[in-house]
Chain length 264, copies 2
């Protein structure tokens, strides 16, 4: 009853993370790449990193530096001597490979793999994404231990991804499922989009001033020119504030104040 | 009529690249990040890179090293003094930002932006993805010059992406449109998936041998046990080769050869 119950909080965090995949780097060589992988993971909301026989041991100063603080914010990295040990508590292991391995095994692209991982995570399974070292990726024995393969279609004449970049792609695909995505939006902040009435008032004022200033050279072309102008003004999706600014521009250029009353 | 017409070939390459977006890095600082960006671009089939006032000038040895050969395979990087100059020939400019800028402008996520870029590219427009430097990203004047903003939803408490990683995300989203994607497949290579007849033959042989070896403790449980076994064998999606291997396993364990004739 006194203060925060940290046990409960850490339990809640644990529950939420339980659904997200574990990232396992098998025999990674450069600390920089481990750090970049950690940063990419945390960018995308993943925080369980395991290493199998890192070449330069663990911890690694270059990894810390390259992680931009990510490693310090994540649970401790776990280090194992073999892939089999690193995946011992996992229910579904997905091996990333750049090239086909002639093994009969489901092959997912990045998006398909993330969806499968999310589905299994929701069902309580612990899923692992397995990545090989810089020189030649996963060896065939590691792939044989895995339930599925992930192969991201890339430029066939330049397909070798940096390790940190490969981890980012999978972490990113996973984040697309867990963070709200909106393909396109146009927030207007504190100001509202202009109503049609406000826009119409602006159009009529502008057209009136253009008439007065002999902008429309011929009566025959005038309807088309007006239609084109209106298309432009509508397409701009103006805000209330921008309509008001535009009135100010007309006032400045003509030397006449905007009419106080809205045009009918 | 004699030899290859290189003019035509380079024209064809030019045509295909004309549809893909230009990547512009504004005031990038570290050569390593420029190189990583170039490598990520070429991984994903993009090859037009422009720089605005790179801190350490251009060319840059660290960039060359980090690009793993990508820079040598791409058309020469173009360098400009200002963002306005770098986007002069572009029809649609999309500015990547990690944080909202309180500007009234369409905001795309990664996927939406790539689709918009592809649509405009197909229509003959030159589209640019604009990235800011490492320290603070694009400044507001650069964003104001852009038609739209790209903001990728990431971990709100750790959202700052490395420059090379940011370029990869957009290049990857673009590649997902241009390279064939299959969410899941299960290629069986030279061997075919087992037919139901082959699988059924295996099931009947296994069940017969288990009967002979008193595996089914009670007649009452036998139907359920057989059903579970059959579920397992069907779920494995066995190939012809694997059915044959499994017959070999039964032969080895029982000391009896597989029947030459298929079971009825």
């Amino acid at each position: 009853m006194t203060g925060t119950d940290h046990t409960q909080i850490s339990q809640a965090v644990k529950e939420s993370n339980r659904k997200s995949p574990v990232v396992i780097l098998v025999k990674p060589q450069m600390g920089e790449n481990i750090g970049a992988a950690a940063r990419a993971m945390l960018n995308c909301g993943l925080d369980r990193l395991r290493l199998v026989s890192p070449r330069d041991g663990w911890p690694n100063e270059r990894a810390e530096a390259m992680s931009s603080g990510a490693l310090a914010k994540m649970p401790p990295v776990e280090v194992f001597d073999s892939t089999a040990e690193a995946i011992r508590d996992c229910h579904y292991v997905m091996a990333t490979t750049a090239r086909p391995r002639d093994m009969v095994k489901p092959v997912y692209n990045g998006e398909g793999a993330a969806q499968e991982a999310a589905r299994r995570g929701e069902a309580g399974e612990k899923v692992a994404f397995l990545f090989g070292g810089e020189r030649s990726g996963l060896d065939n024995d590691d792939v044989a231990l895995s339930h599925a393969v992930i192969t991201v279609p890339l430029n066939p004449s330049f397909s070798s991804l940096n390790l940190g970049q490969a981890v980012l792609l999978m972490a990113y695909e996973w984040s697309k499922i867990s963070f709200k995505q909106t393909k396109r939006e146009c927030p207007t902040g504190d100001t509202l989009p202009a109503s049609h009435e406000q826009l119409h008032g602006l159009m009529e004022r502008l057209e009136g001033e253009l008439e007065t200033h002999h902008f429309f050279r011929s009566e025959g072309l005038k309807p088309t020119m007006i239609r084109n102008l209106r298309n432009l003004l509508v397409r701009a999706d103006m805000t209330e504030q921008e309509v008001s600014t535009f009135h100010g521009i007309i006032s400045a250029l003509t030397g006449k104040k905007a009419p106080l009353k809205k045009q009918p």
